[in-house]
Structure formats: structure tokens, C-alpha cells
Symmetry: C2
Subunit: 376 residues, 2 copies
């Protein structure tokens, strides 16, 4: 009979994943994630893409985001609960799964709260590498919450940004970000308003938290050649850019059908022109045409980025020798005898000879079973 | 500041869940599951129901099945890979998650391979209690694979079935089932064909595995008053009942939009009359009208049953004092400082006074913070 395939579901807890990132180093992790995202975006057309499946409730949303390339299947569970801070909880919490498309075995369960922050920053950097002016040195970070350190780090390590102009309506958030940047050896400077913070920078990252149709960036703040990395406008009813800012820019998105609903372009007519980023990465569409162009990456977060991130974390775990696993799927000596898995009923398992027959339908008990001699 | 809410994600591994079932006992588990399913079906209209999200590939399908009642959110991951037996793997493997709708916290991750077998049998028994003739004593079980013991047990304990007539085209499967029934003290009898097995029984359970449009039951086998528990015809291209058997019967389903695609009624015209079971359970529709009626429960498995099963297993774990947990979501002293969760950056956490301010936007550092004195 065929040797039963082992079922292993690797598990990366929140603490384990944080430790892996600490061990590997933040810069290599962000670079690795950017590489995986870039590679997967270039394979755009092989993926079966689905709009996320959302369950809306009074206080928030719970979403499932599945995607597959025919070999690996991935999905992310993620919530969005703006009032969670009242309980000392994160607004966004997430975990995800990788599965083997050929057999359906879930091969990895991983935390994705920290990972989402890392992959979002890596995604922003991949887009900015393709869209921002070469030689960009200064970036404004508007919104200094949980995602802001990751954005700063990714842009420092992957684009060479040297100076960060910070603003948040909550000064304690800016204080926290300044402290973290300082520890990282990065230069952050606090400003009294968005307008002052964005003056003279090459890139503006907006990553604010309020679930409202805000106008964090207005037309008079925009300078020729700026790249706008719009991260916070990412669900229906939550935008950051004035419509006129979008109109004066060339706008790039991850997956157009999703961004039309969730991105800053939700406020624009359905025929407002946008370009999917994968087309720029593969050379099928132009990014920045002129140093004076204003470019916008209207980022909302797409399932493919989580697929890339899960793939990266799986490989990083291998590299670091992490072997944590959970027993999510029963390993059965005979898959037809699930019942025998309940303690007290093991004795009902058929004898080895019968098992062999059961695994080879049509073979009688007294016939030779092909491959049996090779089985362990 | 408010005390941070603890984040606990309970975990029920395949072995743990099997041990719980062994400890509680199979009959009480099936009765408990049937009770939870019955209760939740009576609350039918409070649930936000979604068709399952399927990813089809050459060898199988991977599905996500979400559902929510506005307080609890549940989803199941389940595959269906008919060729898996070649690798010694189960055709169907599953796990699931319960989450708190108010905050998005995933509160339970559980195996659902064994649990699905239990809940499917409990669901069948709930339907048969409502549809089969009172005093039913004999049941044919056509298809003696992984699900068959659970069906026999549920019908014995919940409906008082005393005698099981068995048939499977693979005699080794019948051998295994006979052995397991014997150990359980149940009377099983092997027959040489479906036709002989169903002769004179009150209930026929069809639970065959072949992914094909089969006609396991044909009209001449059907006797007046029979209840047909059709379990195996559960996905596009997989049916068990001859169309004429459906035409001569009153047909009941879980969730009509899904069963039209996946159930035995996929072969019938769109206007073929069916009744959703919840309507019978709540008294809004009639089940069996006459002792001579032939009733069919065209079961495909619906997300609500997994919701009920996850809820039952969560409560059973509590009852048995099982406290296994996994750390899927990071617990952060300050949710705005996700970055500080990475080892080596803890020092960037704001001091307690600053944290309090960060958690109460608008409060200045030198103001008294309501509730701060009560915080640990």
C-alpha cells in the first residue's frame, strides 16, 4: 500500500513571528517581503482572484481574503474595529493560512497582525520604487500610529529615504514614533500640521486611522513630482485625499475592482482612469512619465500581498530552523476509518492486510498489491 | 486607562477533540450537537448567510464557509479531494474558527474533520426526527466509508434505530463498519446489493463517495413511508438519487440556494418544489403529512451546522476543563505601538503615563485620566 502522507501544519504564533523578525532583522525582512511581493505581482495573471468576503456588523467588519495560483492557496482572516482602542485592543488583527492545492492540506497557520504591517510597508515601497522620483530623500508621514514605523523603515531601507517629517493630530503618537525612529537611528522631525510636514518632501505617506471621508491632503499642499503613498484610505467611507488631488495625479492601484470600492478613488466616477501596479512592474504600462508628474499609489491591501507574506514567512521559518506545528488535521492509518480516531475505538482498525486492500479498490485480499513491497 | 482586554484564542487539536469526544461519550456528544443544531436552525432568520467561497482546482476544491448571527462569527475551511486516498489522505479535511463579532478577536480555532462527521450525523438525525415515521426501527446504510459509523450511532441514539442493513461496493469498507458497530453493541447485517439492503427498512441513508451522477436509489426500491437521508450527493456533479425518486417524494433541504447547486436536486428543474428544514422545525411548514409519504432530506452540509458544532465544542471544552490555547494575536501594552512587539524594540514602549494618554485621545499628560486609578 502507499505510505500515508504525513500531515504537518506549521504554526507561527505572534511571539514566534516577532522573534523571527527580530532574529532576521527588520531590513532583511522588509527587503525579503518586497522581493516576494514584486515576484508575485509579476505573475498577476496566474492567480484566481476573489473579492474579499466581508461580514459587517455595528462595530466593525470581519473579512476573509482567499487567493490561489493553482499550487498554493492562501487566505487571511482580518477584522477592522475602529472602537477597539477603547478596550486596549488593536483595530486590526489578523491571521492566515497556506494550503496545498493538490491535496487541500493546510500547511501553515500564521499570525498576520504584525506580518500585515510589514507587508503593507513592503508593498508601499515596491510601488514607490516604481513610481517615485529616483533620488527621493525626504518623506512626510501623516498619521503616526501602529503602521508608521514600518513605513518609515521600509522607505529608509528600500528607497534610501533619509529624513521623515512627522505629523499626527495625537501628539502622543508622534512622540512614540519619534522614540522608535531614534532607536533605529532614523531622523524624524515633528511638525505642527500636515501642511508644514509635507512642504518640500519627495514622498507623502498618509496612514491616518479615522474612519471618515477626510481630506488630509488638499491640492495646494501638492508639489510637482511628489509621490503620494495613500495607505489609510482603505475601506468604504474612509478616504484621505481631496478629489482634486486625485484629478491632478496619475493614480495606481493594486486590484482595480476592489480599490473602486475601498480606496480613495471610491469618491471618483467609475470611469476615472487608474492603472494596476502589476502592469507597471511588468512593463506593460507606464508609471511616472515626467519628473513633474504627481503619482498616487491608492493602496487598500490585497489578498496577493498576504499570499506573498505567508510564503515569505514560511520560507523564513525554514531558514531559521523554526519547526513549531499544530495538529489541526487527524492523521489516520486508514482514511476510511475516521471513527477509529476516537480513543477507545482504535481496536476497530482493520488489520494491515485489509488496510492495503481498502487503499487499492478492486484488489482482492489474496492478490498482490502493486507497490506494497516498497511501503514502509 | 482601561485595562487591556486579554486576548485568548482557544485551540482544539484533532487529538484533543477526539479525546474530548471519548471522555464525554459518543451518544451525549451526538445528542448535544443535535440540540445545538436544532436550536440554531430555529433562529434561522437572525443569521447572515453567504454561499460558500470555493476555489476549484484540477484535483479538488477548497472552500471557506462563513456565517454570523451578529454576536458570534464562524467559518469553516474544508477541502474535497476525491483522489486523496491515493496518498493515504482523507478526502475531506477541515478546521474552523469562532470569533467575537464585537471586537473581531478569534476566540477558538478547532479541528473540524472529526467534528464535521459528528455534526453531519447529528444534522441527519435532527432532520429524520422531524421527517421519518415515528417508531422507525431499521435503517439501510448505503456506503460504508468514513461517515457511516457516525450516521449509525446518531440514528441509534437519537431515533432508536435497532438494526442496520449495510452495503458498499467495497466489501472491506463494510467489514470495517461491521467491526466498529459490533464494538459499539449495534446490530449490522451485510447485504449483497443496495436493492436487498433497502428492502423493508424505514430509513435509507445514502452516503457514497464517488464523484459522479449516480443512481444509487432507483424508483422500484422505494417503499411507501420511507425516509431517505441523502448525504453523499453534496456537490456539483455528485448525486445519488434517480430523478424519479425525487419526483415521488417530498424533498427537504438545509439552505435552498446552496442545495440547488450542490444537492441531489441539482438534476431537477429550478421550480422543483423543496422545503427548507428550519420551516418544519419551527412549525411554519409541514414535514410528513401521511404515513405513506416518501420524504427525502437532501443534505449538503451548511455553514450553520459548523457554527453550531464550533459552539458545542467550545462549550464542551469548558465543561471538561480543557484550556489549550494558541497565541495567534499579539497582546500589546499599547495597540498603537505594534512595532514595540518585535524583540529588541520593547524599550520604545512609552512610559505608563504616556500610554494612558495615548489610550485617551485628547487628554493632556498632566490631566487626571478617568479610571486610571483603577487600572492594574
Amino acid at each position: 500500500m502507499p505510505t500515508n502522507r504525513r500531515i504537518t501544519t506549521r504554526f507561527l504564533s505572534a511571539e514566534r513571528l516577532a522573534a523571527m523578525v527580530g532574529e532576521k532583522g527588520l531590513a532583511p525582512c522588509l527587503a525579503g517581503l518586497a522581493g516576494y511581493i514584486d515576484e508575485d505581482f509579476r505573475r498577476w495573471n496566474v492567480f484566481a482572484k476573489t473579492a474579499r468576503v466581508a461580514n459587517h456588523s455595528r462595530d466593525g467588519v470581519i473579512e476573509l481574503m482567499p487567493i490561489s495560483d493553482g499550487e498554493l492557496y492562501a487566505f487571511k482572516y482580518v477584522n477592522g474595529h475602529p472602537k477597539n482602542f477603547r478596550f486596549g485592543l488593536s483595530t486590526v488583527m489578523a491571521f492566515g493560512v497556506l494550503a496545498d492545492v493538490a491535496t487541500g492540506i493546510p500547511t501553515l497557520v500564521s499570525e498576520l497582525t504584525l506580518t500585515t504591517a510589514l507587508r503593507t510597508a513592503a508593498m508601499s515601497a515596491v510601488a514607490a520604487r516604481a513610481l517615485a522620483r529616483p533620488g527621493s530623500r525626504r518623506m512626510a508621514v501623516i498619521g503616526n500610529g501602529a503602521q508608521s514605523e514600518f513605513q518609515a523603515l521600509a522607505f529608509h531601507h528600500l528607497l534610501g529615504i533619509k529624513e521623515f517629517h512627522l505629523y499626527d493630530s495625537d501628539s502622543a503618537a508622534t512622540e512614540k514614533l519619534l522614540g522608535n525612529l531614534d532607536k533605529l537611528g532614523l531622523r524624524g522631525k515633528r511638525f505642527a500640521s500636515t501642511k508644514e510636514a509635507v512642504k518640500g518632501v519627495d514622498i507623502v505617506t498618509t496612514v491616518t486611522a479615522d474612519k471618515t471621508n477626510a481630506t488630509i491632503l488638499t491640492p495646494e499642499m501638492i508639489e510637482p513630482g511628489m509621490h503620494i503613498n495613500g495607505v489609510g484610505g482603505d475601506c468604504p467611507g474612509k478616504t484621505e485625499l481631496h478629489a482634486e488631488v486625485l484629478r491632478m495625479s496619475r493614480v495606481f492601484v493594486e486590484y482595480e475592482p476592489q480599490t473602486r470600492i475601498e480606496g480613495d478613488i471610491q469618491q471618483m466616477p467609475a470611469d476615472f482612469a487608474v492603472t494596476e501596479l502589476w502592469q507597471v512592474l511588468t512593463g506593460q504600462a507606464l508609471g511616472r512619465c515626467d519628473p513633474g508628474d504627481v503619482t498616487v499609489f491608492d493602496s487598500v491591501g490585497f489578498a496577493l500581498e498576504d499570499y506573498s507574506a505567508l510564503r515569505y514567512m514560511r520560507d523564513l521559518a525554514r531558514e531559521l530552523g523554526v519547526e513549531d506545528a499544530i495538529s489541526l488535521i487527524p492523521e489516520l492509518p486508514d482514511p476510511k476509518n475516521l471513527f477509529g480516531f476516537i480513543p477507545g475505538f482504535e481496536a476497530c482498525l482493520p488489520a494491515p492486510a485489509e488496510k492495503a486492500v481498502a487503499a487499492w479498490p478492486g484488489a482482492a485480499a489474496n492478490q498482490a498489491v502493486p507497490g506494497l513491497a516498497h511501503a514502509a
